[in-house]
Symmetry: C2
Subunit: 199 residues, 2 copies
DNA sequence: CGCTAAAGTCGAACCGGGTCGACTTTAGCG
DNA sequence: CGCTAAAGTCGACCCGGTTCGACTTTAGCG
């Protein structure tokens, strides 16, 4: 396999993603047209559609690259044996900063990964990776005896993920506006989840 | 005030919303073009933009009509003095059914209200109404001594809302596929929230 | 090496959301 | 009632994502 043809195809794909990383970062998603990407990649506009079914798919590929970078930064900041709430706090605030470096970017990201038009493996993969990272943190917390062992890891991870997600939504709907408010909201909700709401 | 002009304007507005209720329901949001709406309302395409700034705004107006209907049905199903978890369960499952009557509809709804392009009062209003309805349920639960009184009502409502939101996302990303699974997921998460995750 | 069918490419066109600016209606004043 | 400025209307157009179909390249067989 991997004949000349496949190699070239892979190269072109890379070129499109590289153009996306470049242009989405500098001009933003909406303001970058498919034609811009095509020109930057040195191909024709409609050729882009040989490699990606839609603009959103290019976005997801672009996100993959960025995600890698962001998650490697995470491990430098979080002590794997710190109390759970500290770890979650750090993780979410890092993620939050990353997402709001470009407000537009974060919005599209959430929309496309969490409420995608069709069930593509791409979107699910992104979520899974996030959930896995959360799962590891939770596992360690369970081993330390910090949290109830009878709850399922998947639903625990999902629970925390939702809290993060909701805080983001608060940002986009205008309920909260500053980083401090995000921080307060996040901590309040994490506390509720950990302590329990019922008397 | 309310001269002939304002009356007619209101009429035209209504005609557009009526066309939206009709066409969005039958053909779906994406497949209904502005021109379709204009034709159905008996006006020109660009006149639509005198009444609404964007297609999304028409969607929100359409949703307003549907929302009213759905929430009135709610009060017939939920006993205001039933245990909190039962009330939440009923509320969310009703809401869920409503939203998935048309899958497309639910997706756009979440996207536009929770992650809107710009902070419009419209989207915030929709959320606020939902949060208010939740707040009432929580108030009664507090009065019955079911939940911790020291937590802020807003954040409690937000917490439950997020759980619902996350379950929906699970549906759209393909983590869950059937109504039963939604129900199980919902109950699991509500339990976690009420009991508390920490040991 | 020549041929062919499949794969890859891209210009042209489609489609639908949104804008512009010229035209039409009408409120409300004298 | 007549006039005018403001409000309302809409045809023509722009723009960008996506599709179509004709053209070009190339793998791989004889």
């Amino acid at each position: 396999m991997t004949g000349k043809r496949e190699q070239k195809k892979e190269q072109t794909r890379q070129a499109i993603v590289a153009a996306a990383v470049d242009l989405f970062s500098s001009k933003g998603y909406e303001k970058t047209s498919i034609e811009d990407l095509a020109k930057a990649a040195g191909i024709g506009k409609s050729t882009v559609y040989t490699y990606f079914k839609a603009k959103e798919e290019i976005f997801l590929a672009f996100f993959d690259e960025e995600f890698e970078y962001s998650f490697s930064a995470l491990h430098e900041h979080v002590d794997p044996d710190a109390p759970l709430i500290n770890q979650l706090h750090t993780l979410f605030m890092l993620q939050y900063e990353f997402v709001t470096k470009n407000r537009e970017f974060g919005r599209i990201l959430v929309r496309e990964t969490l409420f995608p038009k069709s069930v593509t493996s791409l979107a699910k993969e992104s979520n899974q990776r996030y959930l896995d990272a959360l799962g590891e943190i939770l596992n360690r917390a369970k081993e330390r005896g910090e949290i109830r062992p009878e709850f399922d890891n998947f639903f625990l991870a999902a629970h925390f993920f939702m809290i993060y997600l909701g805080s983001l939504s608060g940002l986009y709907t205008g309920y909260i506006t500053t980083t401090e408010e995000v921080e307060i909201g996040l901590m309040t909700l994490l506390n509720q989840a950990l302590q329990g709401i019922a008397l």
